[in-house]
Amino acid sequence: MLVSVAWVREMCPCDATAGRIAEILTSRGLTVDTVIGDPSSAEAVLDVDVPANRPDCLGHRGIARELSAATGVPLARVPSPPAPAGGPVDQAVSVEIAAPEHCARYTARLVRGVRVGPSPPWVVRRLEDCGLRALDNVVDASNLVMLALGHPVHFFDLARLRGPRVIVRAARPGELLTTLDAVERKLDAADLVIADADRPLALAGVMGGADSEISIDTRDVLIEAAWFDPVTVRRTARRHGLHTDASHRFERGCDPEAPLAAQDLACRLLADLAGGVPAPGVLDVHPSPRRPRSLSLRMSRIARLLGYDPGASATESALSALALAPRRIDHDRFEVDVPSYRVDLETEADLVEEVARHIGYDQVPARVPAPTGSPASGTTHPLEERCRDLLAHAGFLEMFSYAMVAVGEDDPFVPPGTRAPLKLTNPIAEPLTCLRRSILPGPIAAAGLNARRAARSQRLFEVGRVFLPGENPGEFPEEVLRAGAVWGGPVRTPHWSEPHPPAVGFADLAGLVERALRGMVPGVDWTVRPHALPGLHPGRTAAWFGEHGDPLAWGGCLHPDLRARLEFADDLWLCEIDLDALARSTGASTAQTALPRVPAVVRDLSVVLAPDASFADLTATLERVPAPAPATFDAVDRYEGPPLGAGEAALTVRVCLQPLERSLEEDAIEGYRRGLIDALSSSGLGRLRA
């Protein structure tokens, strides 16, 4: 809220400069964001950040009260209303509250004989200081009342009221009202309106209607000063997409005792600015008057919450300065009366804050609480940080991306048939519309950005959650922790010793995945199988299936169509690791195995693999051949091309026999080798290379 220092100093005649007042207010929880103008003068304007619980400070009077509490300078008297004349208000108009649950009080006064015209310069200036534009003397008077007291008032042109009567009632469903902003609004039964005998005139506490608006011809003004239920006003304002100065105040809670003071000030201003004369009497319909609120405050509680005892006399003077009328009940206890404008003071803790705020938090000492016996273990993910370290140590750069993606952006990276993503009802931008089900879109987008910025090599990763929707709407999604990496360009950073390293390939990606899996869960086992995802090259993709049959990780080469669409010059390799699935894996013992005492026997087998036969198929076949010692198989060379047939591959398989105790006899080795060759030829997977 913009606060005119000059106006506040009229209300609390202290001699503090604007800068000093800004300091005082900030130290009391009314943070002054900026001082507009010369801080050493009394003319500046303060931009005050009024917290949502202090609607009493949404007017200059409330700011002045804080200043008075801080400085001890008493508040100035409010100007008295002008003398009334003419027929009393209750003969001219009647007021009825038909919805008392939404309107606890409605007051009305009548001012006759106004002359609508421009406001004097001081009014224009004051309104402008406070961020409002001057319109005419009558409208300006209503704004001045709101800015002075923080209590909105509304003016009706009496001549436009049918009846003439005012009824505060719920709107009839479908009823129409054209508001002051010239929008015709269809009302809802939950809207509260001010109506006359025939039709709605205003959205209560939010905005007036065009029909009863003050015009150049207005002579008699009916002043409304009321108290509307905060929730009702808030809901109506939201429903109609209106946030007005009035609704802002009513929905935070206005002072139920303020309407009469607002009436007095409005009459004074209409008389001074527009020559109006108030009619005798006030219509004050007050179905549920506010009950005075008393609270008790224990000194022991203050000491317990603040960590020190400010003493009874300092407490008492703080409470007095804040107009809380403290009474000492016993050695520990005060009782206070909460002024009607302090809607925020509801509990003892609120009073402790008032005392602390007034005395100053700088009085509070500092100490560190002693630790408890044994700290709790916490609920962090067991693999999250380890995964970050592994990928970073593998040369990848950690990045962050939004958990929200554009509609369809993650489709290429989830299995077809995956439930549709959770959608935001109020996205902030089209690219951030629904919650990701794969972590890959973010790293891919970042790789695109880096490629456009001329980076040759892409090595990025992100660790974060993806959101898998449940079966039913409104159900919590499953939040799964995933790691995703993108890798493109040369496999190693080019260097003068190796200016042209080979490009990243599937084996590099698989190496990254497997190193990460074993690095997180030592000894974890898996099966690698091709694994199609729409966004990946169908012949260059795989998944690592864990012991429970669910994939621990998957990845491959970005599909050429997608690569073209995203304008990547080189192949981009991607992988996604499911850290939750991995955390459910048990891994294996990491105990050391005894070193063999005899040398291993190594034999190479040159094989031509048939089309579609895989290395895994081959080793599965070879593993079934009874071996004279534990055997392992490795691929040491691979070749495709002439003179081999299409789809065939020449593969050199290195067989390593590692006896544990005794060296192997040559006969046994040769017999095993023949067994391997026989198994190969009867499997149909390939043939021995000539």
Partner: protein
């Protein structure tokens, strides 16, 4: 005899001087003198033919000479070998000023660095690290935190809502609720995590990172809050930090405050980092509101607690001197590479 020995020695010394530095020539000289047909070998063979009385002296002279020759040969051979190795080593010296080949080293996001430092400090102080869902319900994100439906302070939250009624958490405070409803006090916990607000401009991102600390025990006060913050921030910034509390409003704390720390760069004198104010605004804090305790089934008469929060992104920016918030989310490798693991 003696004359002949003297001549042999003279010739040997001359030849050795000539051969110096060349291991092959030294070896050839050795063969000429001490080899099977070497000059000295021949003399030694001839000793047997001398009369017995001459033989003793002659043998001594020859042996002395042989010993001297052997010593000089060994020394020369050693010298020559060293010279040859030195010549060898002069070839193929490397240009050590060429750029080295670094192992591929990656990096961690600056927010990860800052978060880990903070977590470590809290873990050392006996806190647990907790996490909770990023998709939350109204109860945990608002109602249990003393923000009933239609509370005006909900406006400040700029909430993203999901179809079906859930929402993206606007702060990490719901983790406090989840912890207090599942664990009895005393509690010392921090909850770092991603939070979401519908706000996107030069100084706000729709997703950012918060960390909140919560301590609940029988005698916790604002003094503990102040001391804890000073301890944490002094360790984080590795310099003595003082804190300043200003009254502030957060519905889930009462008394509530905003807190500033003395600028870690200038120590309070005023600099670019603190915009000449000497202070950095870091976040909100306060004593847990009795209504929050009640929502979690914790007796507010027996237990008191403090909580404070901070934006990890801002802390990381302060620590690393990052001025443009957008860099944090862009994924530019040139930026990310500056924070090696």
């Amino acid at each position: 005899m003696r004359e002949e020995l003297a001549r042999i020695e003279l010739d040997f010394d001359r030849d050795l001087a000539e051969a110096a530095g060349d291991p092959d020539k030294v070896e050839a000289l050795r063969v000429r003198v001490l080899g099977r047909r070497g000059t000295l070998t021949a003399l030694m063979k001839g000793l047997g033919a001398l009369p017995a009385e001459q033989r003793r002296d002659a043998g001594r002279w020859v042996n002395d000479l042989k010993q001297r020759v052997e010593e000089r040969l060994a020394g020369a051979a050693d010298l020559a070998a060293r010279a040859a190795r030195a010549a060898e080593l002069r070839v193929g010296a490397l240009d050590v000023t060429l750029p080295c080949r670094l192992p591929e080293v990656g990096s961690l996001h600056p927010v990860t660095h800052a978060r880990r430092d903070l977590e470590r400090i809290f873990l050392e102080m006996g806190y647990s690290v907790e996490r909770g869902p990023e998709v939350e319900d109204d109860f945990h994100n608002f109602q249990a935190l003393n923000l009933p439906p239609d509370h005006p302070a909900r406006d400040a939250a700029d909430t993203f809502y999901l179809e079906g009624g859930l929402l993206l958490r606007t702060h990490t405070s719901p983790v406090q609720i989840r912890t207090m409803t599942t664990r009895r006090p005393p509690i010392r916990m921090v909850c770092p995590g991603r939070v979401y607000r519908r706000d996107w401009d030069a100084t706000h991102l729709p997703m950012f990172h918060q960390l909140e600390a919560l301590v609940v025990d029988e005698h916790i006060s604002i003094a503990d809050l102040k001391g804890t913050m000073e301890a944490v921030w002094s360790r984080f910034f590795k310099t003595k930090i003082t804190t300043r509390l200003r009254p502030g409003y957060f519905p889930f704390v009462e008394p509530g405050c905003e807190y500033d720390v003395s600028c870690p760069r200038c120590g309070g004198g005023g600099c670019r980092v603190c915009k000449q104010s000497g202070w950095l605004e870091l976040g909100g804090a306060g004593m847990v509101h009795p209504a929050v305790f009640e929502a979690c089934g914790v007796d507010p008469e027996r237990w008191t607690g403090f909580a404070f929060g901070l934006g990890i992104d801002r802390i990381a920016m302060t620590r690393f001197g990052i001025e443009d918030l957008r860099l944090l989310m862009e994924g530019d490798a040139r930026f990310l590479r500056q924070f090696p693991v």
